[in-house]
Amino acid sequence: MVRQEHACILLRNFIRRTARNRQEAEENVALVGIDVGGTFTDLFYSTDGINADRICKVPSTPHDPSDGLVNALVTAEVPKNDLELILHGTTIATNALIERQGARTALVTTKGFRDVLELGRRDRPHFYGLTGLQDPLIPRDRRFEVTERLNHTGEVLVDLDEVEVRRVGEAIKEEDVEAVVISLLHSYANPEHEQRIAAILAEIGPDWEIVTSSSVIREYYEFERTSTAAVQAYLQPLITRYSHNLLSRLKDWGFERQTLVMQSNGGLVPAPQLPSRAAHVVRSGPAAGVTAAARIAAEAGFDRAITGDMGGTSFDVAVVIDGEPEISPSTNLDFRVPLRLSMINVHTIGAGGGSIAWVDRGGILQVGPKSAKARPGPVCFGHGGTEPTVTDANLVLSRINAEDPIGLTNLKRLDVEGARAAMKRLGDKIGLGIEDTAEAILAVVNQNMAGRTRLLSIERGYDPRDFALVIFGGAGPLHGAAIVREVGIKTMLVPPSPGVLCAMGCVVADLRYDISRTVARATASLDAGELAQMLDEQEQEGAEKIRSQSVSVKSIATRHFAEMAYVGQIHTLRVPIEHGWDAERISQAFEEAYRHEYGNTLGDIPSTVVSLRTVVEGVREHKQRDLPVPKEIPAPEPVATRQVHFGRWHDTAIHDRATLEPGMIVQGPAIIEQADTTTVIEPNMTARVDAYGNLLVELV
């Protein structure tokens, strides 16, 4: 999906400087995190790697994203001399893919299988409805076949016909391509044919970017692997140009030290390595947000967190256990465009500030997934929107301030009357008054979000009451209180800068490489030495990637996992394992994991190890904060009081977030306003500012 965050709760271009002890700051390394989203480019500048010295938000520049990026640096007046690192998240890859703006690419496959990329695995775009088409990244007239065949163990059944490969190379030349993907059946078991073809084609087309499927993933499932390699090749020329352009723009601005880029797995990669990791950055932004949320939650003392990012069109939710975001082995980028790479498992539902409320033909109120988007936007923006949205409901209930619209550069006040009129039109259909209609809209959208949140935790065998909800995004803190109430979560955590959390995520992340290979053998058949050797190889490959860069890391951390299943099962479980374990110990770990996930085991059925996965992280120097719990102090005088609707109109204190200091307690109902968001504290809830400046909101 194209990220269109904050389409409704837009932020003004703003800069915030945080007054902190300069002396302390000077001992540290200054860093900048920049998240380039579809609408805004967010910047987070820190002189100690964790506390915000400046944050800023400027419009993105889709024609050349580095414009917006440099503009953010200039706007925030980031002192370039002390700056050690620029850390960067980007939506460029996702957008290029969704809009099909990637490279003209050819595909070479085993004879008989060039259509695999287009056929997929037999499906349709929508569960119900028989229309819709796929748009393959590489069309059929640029897909070629060569004679060769391997079996599933990697044994050569038919030799590679190199004469034919050269003929195909000449034919590809006629197609004027920038990139070529080579994806042969069973190449994960033996990459030699792919590598040989790559070598021959490199002679014929020295300018082509050539990608072999086995170099992108060493796992079976031909369609998913071919698609993943196609995504990499399709993006590689674009990302290469982007990376060169970015580095040269930064040089012009005056920065020549290290630039790191956020990957979908929540880890960083040095910008010069970016071209070969193009397919790894498609979920860069959301991964950065979850990474920051995980770090903040861990620091605040919550080892289990659910992170929720609510913007204008969608609500992204993810689970964090022991400080680690949950990783998913694959995702679908578009219809029949699967990407089989490790990435932070972010679930998205169509619930945002711009989600439209409507009454279905049975007379039942529904909210979303249709969104008013940035244009026309909610009714209260006055850009011609007529259908009531979640933002209009928040306005009608006075949860957001009509006189001080967050983020609308060209609007002095929100159109309350327009929003009320729209609410009345909707309410008349279901027999509710204006405020009750607005409350009903929030009840429905909050339930949609709470439902997704519950599904994530309970269905994974966790009790949601053990989690904290870290809520962010422009609209998140307006709804977080209701979500924790619905799900039964004890604490909602609102970070200090919820509107630029993705930029902060870049700053706190580490370098990371996920390396895996298909094993597909009975667990019992694996001996300990063989396992150790496979894990060693993966560990070395990752460590080599980290060492080959000039990025300074404090240490290298390695973790191993086995993707396992009972014989016959398709869905695998990721089981943490250790180097040196034998088959018996691994089987035991699998059974424990299975019992945790499904509540029981399947008894005597043997297990298989489908693949082995190694995560190698280059851990950067991070400032460790371990602050004592602050003394309770009373909240400052509210900056204002207004009537806000929570079931009925309440006199409600309005606070400025900038005036809240560690230890302060705010009783609900209250509204806390800040430049990038508005936080709602419901009646019967209390907010406390912790030592790190987070708001912790709990039911009384």
Binding site: G112, F113, R114, D115, V116, E118, L119, G120, R121, R122, D123, R124, F127, Y128, G129, L130, T131, L133, Q134, P139, R140, D141, H152, R167, A171, E174, L185, H186, Y220, Y221, E222, F223, E224, D360, R361, G362, G363, I364, L365, Q366, A440, A443, V444, Q447, N448, G451, L455, I458, E459, Y566, G568, Q569, I570, H571, Y598, G599, N600, L602, D604, I605
Partner: protein
Amino acid sequence: MDPVTLAVVRGALEQIADEMDLHLIHAAISPIISETNDCAHGIFDAETGETIAQGRFGLPVFLANMQFTVQNLIEHVRGHGGFQPGDTWILNDPYRCGTHLQDVVLIAPHFVDGELFALLASTGHWMDIGGSVPGGWAPQAQDIHTEGMLIPPVKLYDGGKLNEGLVAMFTTNVRLPSQIEGDLFAMANVFTVGRRGLDALINRYGRETLSACVREMIDRSETQMRSYIEEIPDGTYHYEDFLDNDGIEDKPIKVKLALTVDGSSMHFDFTGSDPAAKGPLNLARSTTQSTCFIALKHIFADVPVNGGAFRPTTFTIPDGSIISAAYPSPVSGYLEPIGRVFDVVIGALAQAIPERTPAPAFGTVGVVTVGGRQPETGSYFVAVFPYPGGYGGHFRGDGLVNGTPPVSMANFMSIEMSEHRYPLQFDEFAIREDSGGAGKYRGGCGTQYRFRARSECVVSALGDRMDHVPFGIAGGKGAAPSRVRLELGGKDVALPMRSKFEKQKLLKEDTLSAASPGGGGFGNPLERDTDAIERDLNLGYISPKSARETYGAVVTETALKSGRKRYKVDRAATDALRARSEQLARAS
């Protein structure tokens, strides 16, 4: 009824059903459940059996069929002591459950404060059910007993106590005992998820309010369904279509529909459909009904899945016909008559609302089953390959390539994974050129695949649509027929029923090739845009011959240096040619 509570309760009930689906999909052993979602879950009214909510991840084929199964069981249990706490019933009797023996249904009552509140149901496809053919698709079966083990409604758990004898009966009579046992208990565990969800709702809203919400929401769905039917012009629309044969007797079998729309009600009258087939192509009445709903749901996708949506429809399905299967008719090929029932509904609706109705999809599931023993271990394997095929063209565009049957969401197996699991080697899996029905909007292409045996095994096929192809609508043309070939010892084998054969022995290097139809075309092919024809030619979706003869295009071709061809369609010349042929057609 408080509109907020109603909206929230409906969302919560649908979520419980979704959670049940996901639980089984993740826990099942059989790939057919875990990879192709061949399962369904729902919550049902304990008195009427009406659907309260059904999961959105299970297969469409179970859409209304679950409700009929539950209603049949309620009837049975009434005479057998009623539902008791801790009971779980199991059955697969297809005349009660509507599909085939492989689909096993578990149903459990949910009690609140000692009172029966609702029924929970789980359907899952078992990879083997005993019977004459591994996997259960028995193309030459002439009675149900040949197809496998028939499970009448019996208690798997009686007051919470597992009937271990029953489990032993199952595991002893199937070819894949440990898979089946794993799936059985995974299904039984699903009810924990359903109960937990319902209890949470009852704690929050109370039994009375929840029951009132359920009644109200079913009524509202009825209103919603009626509002769509009202948009279809009143009238009676007729359509008939044929199955090639039943695998035993080589004669076509008719499915005939008169669809009457009267205000907000619909009547499906299948009078005139042929009598029960000798072979396994019989369809139980409840699935005939369910298929009609699936067709409607594909056209009106917003209608919620609960009992209310089914109320505005009535049916006449003659007893003893191919679409009201009764004991002892074999049913394992039921997916083929489903295709025909689906397509006659489409054929009838296309006359009433052509702007909303797509031309038929490939229309045959063409299941190929391979069974035998693993050369290394000697243990049984069963591999199932259902056809992928093209979807029909429609009012706004071309049909999809390689779709899954409309009543299914099942995927095709991965080639590499299949070669890991089974002693088979694939030679090809490709788009089948020129197989989509021609039209202003072209049907999507079908597919073709070929595999060879790496060791001795037996193969069976159960397909159709060789003699009676997916038709076009609004002037569109039919698609290419399906095709199955067996090459044994390098020689083509004659297949008397063409698309249906049972347990042919394959030796090492023998091959099976299958090719599926595309979808039907929509609208006159002579109105197809010339750029689209040129693109289709260069992508190889259609042949130059079709472009010239069927689409009336003036095509020029140039050879590139590599020998590959590039096609151009001359727009002006094509327009002139099309105008001339139109004149000729008018003159004659």
